[in-house]
Subunit: 437 residues, 2 copies
């Protein structure tokens, strides 16, 4: 018996998914281990930056007004009061024609309003006192960084949901955040299905292939910032299968299965969804590959049934699992970043469904372009190794020409997008074609 399914549009599928709320949890972790985690709170400046007016160079702190009539013909002498290393608090205020030796980063003494670089003065001693000679005019504020010129205490400087990169980490250290509030890594359970699957350690057998999907999804989950757990291969027997999935659902935020979601005689997943009594958000999407992607909500968890084909499962993860994960990580930009790119070659075959073609980005005279990598059948694994983008070809009765502008989804990007891309010329007849999808 062929089950009838009604495909929905991709944006509708993603919207149904994103309307679903999962619980984000927060934890404090030491700054040493916060790399690539996501901030769970806005980060506030705990003090002005700079905290005090300081010297930008090695030199002498002076009152700029004292140099007004300096020139190489009329050099002037300044008396040196003290020596200010970085970290030292100045003890003496500058009076007219007085100066203090000052190092890069040191706090300027009261009275000083500029610094002249060491290379531009001549030092000498007289009667056991130190002096310098200045032969040029110095501008007020020269070589100084003023208190609070970068930021004021209390300002929000980094938004929650931001991934912690080296620069963010430097800012956290600057403001004394030794314990960082981050979102707990969501846990993602992974099951493989399919009696044709061998484990990576198994030797080859005729008719069988090795399970690569579980390893790939494990890596995709880590790339986004989740903690994957591999639960193994689902058995072919429906009762055991149901129990394994019920057990795993209690251990994770999101559960992913690959394979078994089609309408073939050996596809057990649809029956399992019925037994679990969850709410099927969708079980067919107007797209290639991955049209049979099924998502079920139950007990505050999401169960993703991805196709067993490597490419379909790769695309299914990036389109559907990634944004909900990024939402869980409190990102304001949960969707894949997208750009209009130049297509680097013809794609002669038309297709009524929106296609996601594995591709590689490159630049040509500053223009971003994308070329498909390798062959594009949905069971091709090799090309995934080179993939850094999914080229979106909207469903259409026409082919695509080299040089045409199309949307590309950027897979290696960390920043994301606030919105899902919009197909510019979607084929409106798609919904009537469900039976041949």
């Amino acid at each position: 018996m062929l089950e009838m399914r009604y495909p929905i549009q991709i944006d509708e599928a993603v919207n149904r998914l994103m309307a679903h709320c999962l619980d984000s949890k927060v934890e404090l972790i030491p700054i040493n281990s916060c790399d690539n985690r996501y901030l769970a709170e806005d980060i506030i400046a705990t003090h002005d930056v700079p905290l005090f007016t300081r010297s930008g160079y090695d030199g002498y702190a002076i009152r700029a007004e004292d140099t007004q009539h300096c020139s190489s013909n009329t050099p002037l002498q300044f008396k040196v009061l003290e020596e200010l290393a970085a970290g030292i608090v100045p003890q003496q205020e500058l009076g007219p024609y007085e100066t203090s030796r000052i190092m890069t980063g040191a706090k300027t003494p009261n009275g000083a309003n500029s610094v002249i670089m060491l290379e531009l003065v001549k030092e000498f001693n007289r009667d056991g006192e130190k002096y310098i000679v200045i032969k040029r005019r110095v501008q007020k504020g020269e070589n100084l960084s003023h208190q609070a010129e970068e930021t004021r205490r209390g300002e929000t400087i980094i938004k929650r949901g931001t991934r912690i990169n080296p620069g963010v980490k430097a800012v956290l250290a600057t403001f004394g955040y030794s314990q960082i509030p981050v979102t707990v890594r969501p846990t993602i359970g992974i099951f493989a299905t399919g009696s044709e699957l061998l484990d990576v350690n198994d030797s080859l057998q005729d008719g069988k292939i090795r399970n690569s999907n579980s390893y790939m999804i494990d890596a995709q989950a880590k790339r986004i910032g989740a903690d994957p757990i591999y639960f193994g291969k689902l058995p072919d027997e429906i009762e055991t299968c149901y129990e394994a999935i019920s057990f795993a659902l209690n251990k994770v935020d999101i559960l992913i299965t690959t394979g078994g979601v089609s309408v073939g005689d050996y596809d057990l997943m649809p029956e399992i969804y019925k037994r679990l009594q969850g709410k099927v958000l969708f079980n067919k999407v107007a797209m290639r590959p991955g049209s049979v992607t099924t998502v079920t909500a139950l007990k505050g968890k999401l169960l993703f049934g991805l196709s067993g084909n490597p490419s379909a499962s790769y695309v299914g993860f990036e389109l559907f699992v990634r944004p909900i994960l990024r939402k869980l990580l409190l990102s304001e930009n949960p969707y894949l970043k997208y750009e209009k790119v130049k297509l680097a070659c013809d794609i002669p075959k038309a297709n009524p469904f929106t296609r996601f073609v594995r591709g590689k980005l490159f630049f040509e005279n500053g223009m971003i372009s994308a070329r498909p990598v390798g062959m594009d059948k949905s069971n091709v694994v090799l090309s995934l190794a080179k993939t850094d983008t999914l080229i979106v070809l909207p469903g259409s009765t026409r082919s695509f020409q080299k040089g045409e502008k199309v949307i590309a989804l950027l897979l290696e990007d960390e920043e994301g997008s606030q919105m899902l891309w919009q197909d510019s010329d979607r084929n409106e007849q798609v919904s009537s074609m469900s039976t041949i999808l």
Copy 2:
């Protein structure tokens, strides 16, 4: 006393560094923990892909020639021999007008040369035997993936030095690589110098600032794939300092210090380099920020003296430490990826030295552009959080205009470049300006 230093060009500095050989080590690790590591060997296809000719869809395996005269007016009947699930080895060869039910991914039976999709046939029973009716012509090869059509056994499919992303991991699993040969993560020691530095846990003190450089470099090292070790703050006393550095050098591949490399009275590093009796590769580079960057080679190790200013130390890491690390990781593309980008605003001030301006990349009508982030003094920490590129402004007596094309170095890119970028219009007078650098 002011020590005289002679600045060299950036490419010359990088070349001296890259000519230096450090030892790459190889280890085998389980596939589960290979994410983001670098392959130490070329990966070879251990079998054909596909390993056998298989079905791309759920349907019926047939001999295409039997359908030559099929049409909706002249439907034909085929007798069903067996049912082929994925993973099953077919037992029966197809004769004329015979078929076998076949699932996605299953091996095709002998005699079959195409598959007709399940949706396009009608099934029926007669005398306890199964039959199907076909009403259209099927092309030879339709819905099949042929043995070896993706790759042949023995082909090199992924080059050593490649970073392991989800697609690469899927390929490794496909070919049964359960233990992955990767380069050992290089260890990078980090010391901070400066008596003005407070630890991240310390409360603020007048005249002092918190150490952010060590945390930042720790994160930069991890981003590239190294293992950082923070050795703490170097003391102000030269003997203790010398011993601490000698000790640390034995524990790491590369040692980085921040601060103390200038010519100020409190800059101890130049004296330490002398005592260590290493070979100073360079101690001044014609660039801003980071001109005082010093690199010393000794005992098969490299000692990087980066500036104490956060931006200078950030740039110094990316320009000098990153490529040698990537070389250690056996990458064929050790340098930062660069692209010609459109400058998003005027940069009015000219500078005789090549400048690296912290920036952010964006796309405008498919053109890659970059805008400077925040202020651009070399002690600015905040803007580093938003930085994903360094805009290269070649030394020149002229300013830069909005819309002009300049080189940008891509910091978040994983792929790298085989070559260092070339300044298009370098100012040749640079070397005569050493004293005011």
